[in-house]
Subunit: 122 residues, 2 copies
């Protein structure tokens, strides 16, 4: 069973974290056949942490984790921190496989998404 | 003449800032009829700053600025800092109009973009 984990930075502003959680919920509802487990977690400033959702996903039966760094640019969080945090979180689970997707800002369709935001205003 | 300004956080990692700059360049190439001027700027840690690109866009002939906070969630940067920085940057330009779009993470199609990233891997 595959789990999809959305890893965001985290904010001091609760509404910001709730926004990420709602996005993950929406993604989960729309893609439950592909990803029966979908969770959002935060690198800092908010919970659940990455380690917490890795534990929770595996407890819920996940055997393979598909991890999306929900970041716009490949800064140090994406390049260094997240791979390290994921590795640490999985240290006790030798049988679980995982993949870290490119960060969302690297998506080929990001230019189109930006255009859609400008036209939603018309 | 309309200018499109992509406002990102900024990173200590030069490649991360270049990635944002390239995205803005690509958006500009694809949308030059709608937005003859397209620039990327950074809130902190990198240049050009927001104030610098506001000056540059107006010097290049922009009369209306369409500003996109290139942030995934509406944290304090989006809610407080960017409106304040934009207002300050425009203090000396009473004839220039502007609009601040919703942050990119609030785009209706973000869920679809996330799905596209998972399938690009297949």
């Amino acid at each position: 069973m595959k789990a999809f984990l959305l890893l965001a930075h985290g904010s001091r502003r609760a509404q910001s974290n709730e926004e990420v959680q709602k996005l993950a919920d929406c993604f989960g509802i729309q893609n439950q056949d592909e990803f029966p487990i979908v969770m959002a977690g935060f690198m800092e400033l908010a919970e659940p942490t990455i380690s917490m959702i890795v534990d929770d996903a595996i407890s819920a039966g996940a055997k393979h984790l598909v991890i999306l760094p929900y970041f716009l640019a490949a800064g140090t969080h994406v390049v260094d921190d997240i791979p390290s945090l994921v590795k640490d979180s999985l240290a006790n689970y030798p049988d679980i496989t995982f993949e870290i997707l490119p960060h969302i800002g690297g998506a080929k369709s990001m230019v189109n998404l930006i255009l859609s935001v400008t036209t939603e205003q018309d």
